[in-house]
Amino acid sequence: MKNNFTILKTLPFALFLIIFFVSALVLYQLKNAPKNIKSIKSQLIGKNIPEILIPEVNYFGSSNQKQNLNFKEYENQIFAVNFFASWCAPCRIEAPILEELNKIIPVVGVAYKDKFMDTKKFLNDFGNPYKKIGIDNYGKVAIEWGVYGVPETFLINKKGKIIYRHAGPLLYNIFKFEVLPLVQEN
């Protein structure tokens, strides 16, 4: 055999090109296909809120009231429940937006597995967006609410039923396009 460039030797490359272009075509179709956006839906949506049995803590008052956190005063109105912790970085991001929300509807905070002094410092540093705060030392309430992680926010309607859940920091666009319309509707 003489040392010549033969067309035969480009054959592997040609085959590869075919496979390459077909794969590209399929990928292109896949990319443009409608996607199912999977959102985490709470099992609790449409159900009554689980009973809460944790102490309410007044972080800035002179005396610690020894009473359980309750939502009695918010019956017949829409309100929000927010799970947070001082050790959770994303909670800091959502603090100003929660404050906005608190101006429209009452927001109840649940401090998840947090120390009293840490929570107090957190509220001092980033502002207190809550009407009242309960402390969930053992994470029991979080389990009953099926909380996936902190922060997490629930909306409860006039009939005491959960209508919305958002896992993760309540960013501005979520607040504006998801939470506000729901609040106005109800």
Binding site: K9, P12, F16, A24, V150
Partner: protein, 648 residues
């Protein structure tokens, strides 16, 4: 903080690898001895950085650091430690990190072990390896970062897919990746040879151990995957021609062809272009496998990371890593000096050439079967899947001649001159096979295909025995001196014989499973006694039990023979609450001669439970055979090392 260190290590390695590539390209023609030294050092640095990064990820899994997205999605604080560790590679991002870890390890080892080859070739090899490394590091850093933090701090992890919580599968990805990535060494050797335009017998000798290691690991990896599918998925079979299985099988077939043809190149300078092409193809198929698994192009049980944008990135990697060398091949492969191949039909090299021809054709049929659904999807949007019927009709007939030749080839000599007593060996081989066939027919009367398949196994086995006996006779060693005989056997090419016997054992297993399997499907109530084949089963009870991180529904069956209980089978259905998923644990009674395989389906007290029973004769031989093949590979590496030391 600690995960960020791992992340920074990866970024440093990525930047450093690009600088190394530039350095190598800059010095590609003006070659100095110190270039290769710097490249060797950089291979060590890359390896240590990636290793540290991998340890950091493992550490995050062990301490269950759920602030990492990967850990929170794939681990759980209650999971046993071994599955926390195997969770590192039980997912897309972590397994890619393992991939680059193995790649950098191989690069480092090559730079260490092959330091005596042509320094220009060595620096090209390291350079090509570094290009692949940088491509995959870019892929990790830009699309699949294992060190990504979470937005929501989860209370606990989501757990590892329960199907993957299994000892067999904990080892499956590492073995498979050692195989896949090990083939990159052959690839880099080939591209290196193309770049420097020079090839010699030493090239083949240096490359041989790497191919053998990769091939053995790939064999074990595939076998582990198949074993896992057999006992965990509860489908009752051992090979499903699933696209992802094919993706691992195609590199194996090409690597097998390469493994044999490189032996020809070790002896004389022929088939050079062919071997270069095979080396490139073997690793290309590994990459294609990665692409198929990772891009979600083809759906299968493995599609745990389907994301089209990742697919685009891998496609770009493929274009560079496969397209580039193939263009290089098209233009430069003609420049190699070659000896003239003297074609004698009765010689080892021609037998190996024919074996290569069949193996590559077989690979092509698998490739067509795997990609055809993709082509159809691209052009008219139809979604089809190609099943065993296609492969039984195309793949099996192509592989039969391969096995037929496998028994003959070791008996032949290299080159033109054949020994005089060759016909004697053939007669011995034919007679022993014929006796075996008759025995097979007497034991179990069966179809023609079963007989062909079974006798091929016997044929191969007697081929190996014939070869060993003939070699002992030639060396004039008396058979009654056993110690001498064993010493002699350990000196001949024992690895090859073990691997070939492995294939014979494997084939026997396949014959048993394919042609002598009995299957039973039905719905049964508690207390029922029913016959399956020659034995019968009694459904005793069903109960709910608690496992460490699952709840299980366990049934108890008695296996009866002539009314006597000979064994108890306990198939389970497990429910994993964290992952919200269910697995089927088949009850398998395994022994040397075959398995009894019982799967519990859905049901309740009123309508009974659906059950499936299989008697799979010789099925464990399939994996036993695969283990023998891999063992053969390892033995031949060890033998070669000894042999080289003697020469030195």
């Amino acid at each position: 903080m600690i995960p960020e260190i791992g992340h920074i290590f990866l970024i440093i390695t990525f930047v450093a690898s690009i600088m190394q590539i530039l350095f190598w390209i800059y010095n590609i023609n003006s070659f100095h001895g110190f270039t290769v030294n710097i490249l060797k050092k950089s291979a060590l640095i890359n390896f240590s950085l990636i290793l540290s990064s991998f340890f950091i990820l493992t550490y995050s899994f062990i301490i269950s650091d759920f602030s990492l997205l990967l850990v929170s999605n794939n681990s759980h604080s209650l999971k046993p430690l071994i599955y926390k560790i195997s969770g590192v590679w039980g997912n897309h991002e972590g397994s890619l990190l393992l991939w680059v870890l193995i790649l950098s390890a191989f690069t480092f080892l090559v730079s260490k072990k092959n330091s005596n080859i042509n320094p220009k070739l060595l620096s090209s090899i390291i350079g090509v390896q570094t290009i692949i490394l940088s491509l995959f590091l870019a892929f990790i850093l830009f699309t699949s970062n294992p060190f990504e933090r979470v937005e929501i701090l989860p209370l606990d992890g989501r757990g590892l897919n329960p199907l993957l919580q299994d000892p067999g599968l904990a080892l499956h990805p590492p073995m498979l990746y050692i195989g896949y990535v090990g083939l990159s060494v052959a690839f880099s050797f080939a591209v290196g040879a193309l770049i420097i335009g020079e090839i010699n017998r030493e090239w083949a000798q240096q490359m041989m151990p790497w191919i053998t290691i990769a091939w053995s690991a790939l064999t074990i990896g595939i076998a582990l995957g198949s074993w896992w599918a057999y006992y965990e998925l509860g489908w009752g079979g051992w090979w499903f021609w699933d696209p992802v299985e094919n993706a691992s099988f195609m590199p194996w077939l090409i690597a097998t062809a390469l493994l044999h043809s490189v032996r020809v190149l070790e002896k004389k300078l022929v088939l050079v272009n062919w071997i270069i092409l095979l080396s490139i193809l073997a690793f290309s198929f590994s990459l294609l496998g990665t692409f198929i698994v990772r891009s979600g192009l083809l759906t299968s049980v493995h599609a745990f990371a389907s994301d089209p944008s990742r697919g685009v990135f891998i496609l770009i990697i493929l274009a560079i890593a496969i397209g580039g060398p193939l263009i290089l091949y098209a233009f430069k492969s003609s420049s190699f000096k070659e000896q003239k191949m003297q074609f004698n039909i009765l010689s080892k090299e021609s037998a190996i050439l024919i074996n290569n021809l069949f193996l590559t054709t077989a690979t092509a049929t698998v490739l067509i079967g795997t990609l055809y659904p993709l082509f159809l999807d691209a052009f008219n949007g139809n979604k089809i899947s190609i099943g065993p019927a296609y492969y039984n009709a195309t793949f099996a007939p192509i592989m039969a001649p391969v096995v037929f030749l496998m028994a003959i080839a070791p008996l032949l000599n290299w080159g033109q001159h054949q020994q005089k007593n060759l016909s004697k060996k053939f007669i011995f081989l034919i007679i022993t096979t014929f006796i075996g066939m008759i025995c097979l027919y007497i034991i179990e009367q069966s179809s023609l295909f079963a007989l062909i398949c079974g006798s091929l196994s016997i044929w191969l086995f007697s081929g190996v025995i014939t070869d060993i006996i003939a070699k002992i006779k030639e060396a004039k060693i008396k058979f009654n001196k056993l110690s001498q005989v064993f010493f002699f056997i350990s000196k001949i090419n024992l690895g090859i014989h073990i691997a070939h016997i492995g294939v014979a054992v494997f084939l026997a297993g396949v014959t048993g499973e394919q042609f002598y399997k009995t299957e039973y499907n039905g719905r049964k109530h508690i207390g029922d006694i029913f016959d399956v084949g020659e034995k019968s089963l009694e459904f005793k009870k069903i109960e709910m039990l608690d496992g460490p991180n699952y709840k299980s529904q366990t049934a108890t069956f008695n296996l009866l023979n002539d009314g006597k209980v000979i064994n108890v089978l306990k198939p389970e259905k497990r429910f994993y609450p964290t992952e919200q998923s269910q697995t089927t644990e088949a009850a398998i009674l395994s022994d040397f001669l075959g398995d009894t395989y019982l799967v519990l389906g859905d049901g309740n007290k009123e309508i009974g439970w659906s059950i499936r029973v299989y008697f799979n004769p010789l099925i464990s031989w399939i994996w036993g055979g695969a283990c023998l093949m891999a063992l053969g590979g390892l033995v031949s590496i060890l033998q070669n090392r000894k042999y080289r030391k003697i020469i030195k």
